[in-house]
């Protein structure tokens, strides 16, 4: 019998409004995040993602609802966050004039009172993020990739169980990006719970298990990412009739008047799909296969908000 992963963070009907705001910035959000998973929080600018994360990390106090870290029920919310939650901001949240080691030493000194553990925590963070080659280098002299790793290493030096990451791969080369994604996947395997925000949706698809779409402060979609699924988008010259639509046996979604989406979870059905498409060859304008359902869903949900 498969072991059920414990819930690390639970939000119940969480709401928040800034002073003077006409509407709620976070509106009755309920979520459960499990151990060893990565959950992406996606949405357009101004959707309420940052406010939601600020609430989850105790930076803001909710107007209504509850935030719980059920794994640490013996601790208050503030204590649980202080001990077991770490942030990886998008900017390099460390001291550029200090060395890698000194940066880690400073943050470890704040997070851990037991001095005997300091060296161990620093070394484990250095090892996890593969920073051995630059330990004594000043942070300002590091490449973008190493700076990103140091940003994560500082979070890991706190020995957290839950890590919030804001675009941790922005502005770095593909190889450094792969190294960071690989590091984050390792953290998941170690049982760390990751909460991830990024506009790089292919990265979300690669790393995350669940995705939460936020719009106007509300959760508009919350679903697991199934990497075995294949999505086909096609557009037609005219709107398809009911008879034409009946040709498709797969799950078909009408995105707009002449834009349709098919979700295929069994590749054996591809034959019948191509057969149906060939019957409509005069009507078909474009066909596009994608294995990144997140991007499609994102576009479907938020296309009207694009600038």
């Amino acid at each position: 019998m498969a072991k059920i992963a414990p819930i690390m963070l639970e939000l119940q009907q969480l709401s928040f409004a800034y002073k003077g705001a006409e509407r709620l910035t976070v509106d009755a959000v309920s979520l459960q995040l499990k151990q060893g998973t990565c959950t992406a929080i996606l949405g357009p600018n101004g959707a309420g993602k940052s406010t939601l994360i600020s609430l989850m990390t105790g930076l803001l106090a909710p107007a209504a609802g509850r935030i719980e870290y059920p794994h640490y029920q013996q601790l208050s919310l503030k204590q649980a966050i202080a001990k077991k939650v770490a942030l990886v901001p998008q900017d390099f949240a460390f001291y550029e004039e200090l060395t890698v080691y000194d940066n880690l030493a400073f943050f470890v000194a704040i997070s851990e009172k037991n001095r005997r553990l300091h060296a161990q925590y620093i070394e484990s963070a250095i090892a996890a993020c593969n920073l051995q080659a630059v330990t004594n280098k000043r942070a300002s002299t590091l490449s973008g990739g190493y700076k990103r790793r140091l940003n994560i290493a500082i979070a890991l030096s706190k020995q957290p169980d839950i890590i919030f990451l804001d675009e941790p791969t922005v502005g770095i080369d593909p190889l450094s990006r792969d190294a960071i994604i690989s590091l984050l996947q390792d953290l998941k395997k170690q049982g760390k719970t990751l909460i991830y925000t990024s506009h790089l949706l292919y990265e979300v698809a690669q790393l995350c298990d669940d995705v939460v779409f936020i719009k106007d402060g509300k959760v508009v979609a919350n679903q697991a990412i199934n990497s075995a699924q294949l999505t086909l988008n096609f557009t037609t010259r005219n709107r398809l009739s009911q008879v034409q639509l009946a040709l498709f046996t797969e799950q078909l979604t009408v995105i707009s008047e002449a834009h349709y989406q098919l979700t295929i979870s069994d590749t054996k059905l591809l034959g019948s799909l191509f057969s149906a498409l060939s019957q409509l060859s005069d009507e078909i304008k474009s066909v596009n296969f994608s294995d990144n359902q997140i991007e499609l869903l994102y576009r479907a949900l938020f296309s009207e908000q694009a600038c």
Partner: protein, 387 residues
């Protein structure tokens, strides 16, 4: 935690050449330049007292006024032709005949180059006028018999000078100030440099705020107020090190290099109080300004600008003695002036109650600034969120 914060802040400053330049190089350069400038200005006044006398030089009155000018400190140049460097006194032919006339044009003409500073020009003119008045006194004393007509001229001159002399007494002013230009400029620019710690402090705060470090720290098991105290303590220790280094350079190295008397701190215990008061005041003020600003540009304009204005008001750039009295009175409200005064007092030969007066003012100022800084910092931290 405090030790790590101290290490961090000290390393941040030590590794930042700009901060080091602001904290050490700039005040040292100012101390050297301003001390040299003030010592040179004394020398230049002496040089400007060189005077060539032209006209009726063989008359008795001309001889007396020349002697009186020499007694006033003028060096009478042998070069009779006027040059740009030497001021010239021209004695009219009717000088002897018309000196005691109640009306009529002046029989002396003083030609001064407009290259000289207005104050130097005024000084030269006043000295020549004083000599003319002494000459008239000389003639009067001869007539009344108060001056021995048969005495040698130098004795007669001495008698006139004695008769026209004024005793003056400096009250509550360290006597050294009269002799050592370093005593005026060194404490001023020392204080100026210490108060400039506002720039590194502000830039660190802005960096921490802008790059998400403070957001990160908000999720650590430390209250932001405690973090602020630790930073304040760390900066105060950094400032004390800076203060002691500047003391060493300002009191010993610079006077030694400029061949001026060395400055000494006369009371060890009061010196410690003075240096701590100075550092605490500078750090509290820096924290207050740092908590107000939110960008590098603001830090430089507000931090640098406020310090320069306070320095100007405190008489660091233009001595208070030559400022209009209303403007000079503003110095009494400047913490930089209080800071410079307690340093001058511990360097002076006399210690007065003013030391405690300025110390109390500084501690009151520090407490106000620190409280305001902590309040603003906490308020801003409450509003600090993800992104």
């Amino acid at each position: 935690m405090l030790i790590h914060t101290l290490k961090k802040e000290a390393r941040l400053i030590a590794n930042d050449l700009h901060s080091l330049a602001v904290l050490l190089l700039m005040p040292i350069v100012f101390m050297v330049i301003m001390t040299m400038a003030s010592s040179q200005s004394q020398q230049s006044i002496q040089q400007n007292l060189v005077l060539s006398v032209a006209g009726e030089n063989n008359s008795q009155h001309s001889l007396v006024i020349t002697k009186l000018l020499q007694a006033q400190g003028f060096i009478i140049s042998a070069n009779k032709s006027r040059t740009e460097q030497v001021s010239q006194l021209i004695i009219n032919p009717q000088f002897d005949q018309q000196i005691l006339m109640r009306q009529g044009t002046s029989q002396l003409q003083l030609i001064i180059s407009d290259d000289l500073a207005p104050q130097t020009r005024l000084l030269l003119r006043e000295k020549v006028k004083a000599c003319l008045a002494q000459l008239k006194l000389y003639l009067y004393m001869l007539e009344t018999g108060d001056l021995d007509a048969d005495a040698v001229i130098d004795e007669q001159i001495n008698a006139v000078i004695t008769a026209s002399d004024v005793n003056y007494l400096l009250i509550d002013t360290p006597a050294k100030a009269l002799h050592n230009p370093a005593l005026n400029s060194i404490p001023a620019w020392w204080v100026f440099g210490v108060y400039f710690i506002v720039l590194p402090v502000s830039l660190t705060f802005i960096n921490e705020r802008n790059n998400g470090t403070l957001v990160r720290l908000k999720t650590y098991p430390i209250s932001m107020a405690r973090y602020f105290y630790n930073k304040a303590c760390a900066y105060t220790l950094v400032s004390l090190v800076q203060t002691v280094l500047l003391a060493l350079i300002g009191c010993v190295v610079i006077p030694y290099c400029l061949d001026l008397p060395l400055l000494s701190l006369n009371s060890l215990s009061l010196s410690v109080i003075a240096l701590i008061s100075l550092s605490v005041a500078a750090i509290s003020f820096a924290l207050f300004l740092a908590s107000l600003v939110s960008s590098y540009e603001q830090a430089i304009v507000v931090g640098g600008g406020v310090n320069i204005i306070l320095a100007a008001l405190s008489g660091f750039m233009v001595p208070l003695e030559i400022m209009p009295s209303n403007l000079a009175a503003l110095a009494n409200g400047s913490p930089m002036y209080w800071s410079a005064q307690i340093l001058r007092l511990i360097m002076g030969e006399t210690m007065t109650h003013s030391f405690w007066h300025y110390s109390v003012l500084l501690w009151g100022f520090s407490l106000s600034c620190f409280s305001a800084a902590l309040w603003i910092f906490n308020k801003k931290m409450r509003n600090l969120t993800w992104n």
